[in-house]
């Protein structure tokens, strides 16, 4: 699914930097996202995701560096370039006083490549009547309406910024089903920003992790997950000084047993633990959720209780 006819990158930045006064929001970011598939972008609040999209869509100037979207310079996007990009954000902001029919008619006039079949297919997942005012729709229905409008645009790139935030379980499921299985998605590259790892695990072909305005990972989710391992070690008395533990992401001592989450450590880590006096050492796999969260919270790791 989701193969686009265009080779190359849908998003490309080189040395992209954005400063707000003293604060650096984007820090010399080199990012290249290939066309096709679903790419999830995760990062803590303030990682620079929103700033990045505002720059890419041409709403905000960069301090320095280059940003390209669908091969075009973000600073010089024409209306016909914008037609190729669908954007759905968490607010699902639409004209509340208009009816669903009126908003749809307006969008249909605005987009020459309007795909009525795609609109009908997607909106069919939701109980939305044409005569309803947008303000009368539930949050989930508004999300579905928004997605239907975006896909009817026939976008080559669909950017979803926390699209399921605040939706109930049923509405979330309907949204994911459309995203994963709708015929309207054919040929569309998806950028999916979310904090919800449960969804990321279901949808993402590729996992992009941003931290403090910089790229920290770009790989299939399972490749990233396999970089993180959980070690359980029975070390009598004190464990090693956390500063000496290679690749440490998180350390805990539970019932006198030491638990370490580490990055990029192979079997040699067992030797390290044995050298620290460990009697019994076990290596466990971790969930994607835990791998990502420990990676992102590394900066805030608490010191290990001795």
């Amino acid at each position: 699914m989701n193969e686009t006819p265009h080779a190359g990158y849908v998003i490309e930045t080189r040395g992209l930097t954005k400063r707000y006064g003293q604060k650096v929001a984007i820090d010399h970011l080199d990012l290249a996202i290939e066309s096709g598939n679903i790419h999830a972008i995760v990062g803590a609040n303030g990682a620079g995701k929103s700033t990045l999209f505002r720059i890419l869509l041409g709403f905000l100037p960069a301090t320095s560096g280059e940003a390209r979207i669908l091969g075009r310079d973000s600073r010089r996007l024409t209306p016909s370039d914008r037609e190729r990009i669908g954007f759905v954000n968490e607010e699902h902001t639409l004209q509340g006083w208009m009816t669903v029919a009126a908003v749809t008619a307006m969008q249909r006039r605005q987009y020459p490549r309007w795909n009525q079949a795609a609109f009908d297919e997607v909106i069919g997942h939701y109980n939305v009547q044409a005569s309803q005012k947008v303000s009368q729709l539930s949050r989930g229905e508004r999300a579905g309406f928004n997605l239907a409008l975006s896909l009817a645009q026939r976008p080559e790139l669909l950017v979803l910024d926390e699209p399921t935030l605040g939706l109930d379980v049923v509405a979330k499921r309907a949204f994911l089903e459309t995203l994963l299985h709708s015929h309207a998605m054919a040929g569309c590259t998806v950028i999916y920003c979310s904090h919800q790892m449960e969804e990321v695990e279901r949808v993402a072909d590729n996992l992009i992790i941003m931290e403090r305005g910089a790229l920290r990972n770009i790989s299939p989710p399972d490749d990233f997950r396999s970089r993180v391992s959980h070690w359980v070690a029975d070390i009598p008395f004190r464990g090693p000084d956390p500063r000496t533990i290679p690749g440490l992401l998180d350390a805990q001592r539970i019932d006198g047993i030491h638990h370490y989450l580490v990055l990029d450590q192979g079997e040699e880590f067992a030797e390290f633990l044995h050298a620290c006096g460990a009697r019994d050492v076990h290596r466990l796999p971790v969930s994607l959720d835990r791998a990502v969260n420990s990676f992102l919270s590394k900066q805030h790791a608490a010191p290990v209780a001795a």
């Binding site: 699914m1 299985h181 466990l284 796999p285």
Partner: protein, 135 residues
């Protein structure tokens, strides 16, 4: 033509096993227990992805792994089917597992204090069912 068999499996997110691995394990288990018989057709990639609300590429990768291991076979233009059980294990691995099975059986029989000749007679009868099944 064989009809597609339902594949009543579940996946869990937040599990240490990747979703693709969970699918591989579940399908192997169903074949090994005989719930999925040789010749049964599996759901399409799109169908299973819809059933589980996951990315179809994840299902495609799991199916590719099962096919490479000899659990499934692809029939041109028709889909994926459970493969006949022969080519899955090497001769050495088969011998090793057979030794294991015999050891386990012998240990149980010892614990039961059951006369060997009667144990062999019972075993012979039990294996007769297998012989019929593979004939």
């Amino acid at each position: 033509m064989a009809r597609t068999r339902a594949l009543p499996i579940q996946i869990a997110t937040g599990d240490p096993r990747p979703i693709g691995k969970q699918i591989v394990d579940a399908v192997r288990m169903r074949i090994a227990t005989g719930e999925l018989e040789p010749g049964a057709q599996l759901p399409s990639v799109r169908g299973l992805a819809q059933q589980l609300t996951i990315n179809p590429n994840t299902v495609a990768k799991a199916y590719a792994e099962l096919t490479a291991e000899g659990w499934l076979e692809s029939r041109q233009g028709l889909g994926l089917y459970v493969a006949p059980p022969r080519q899955r294990l090497s001769a050495a691995e088969r011998d090793r597992r057979m030794d294991e099975a015999i050891q386990a059986f012998v240990h149980e029989v010892v614990a039961l204090d059951y006369p060997p000749d009667r144990a062999i007679a019972r075993l012979d009868k039990a294996l007769g069912v297998l012989a019929k099944k593979s004939a």
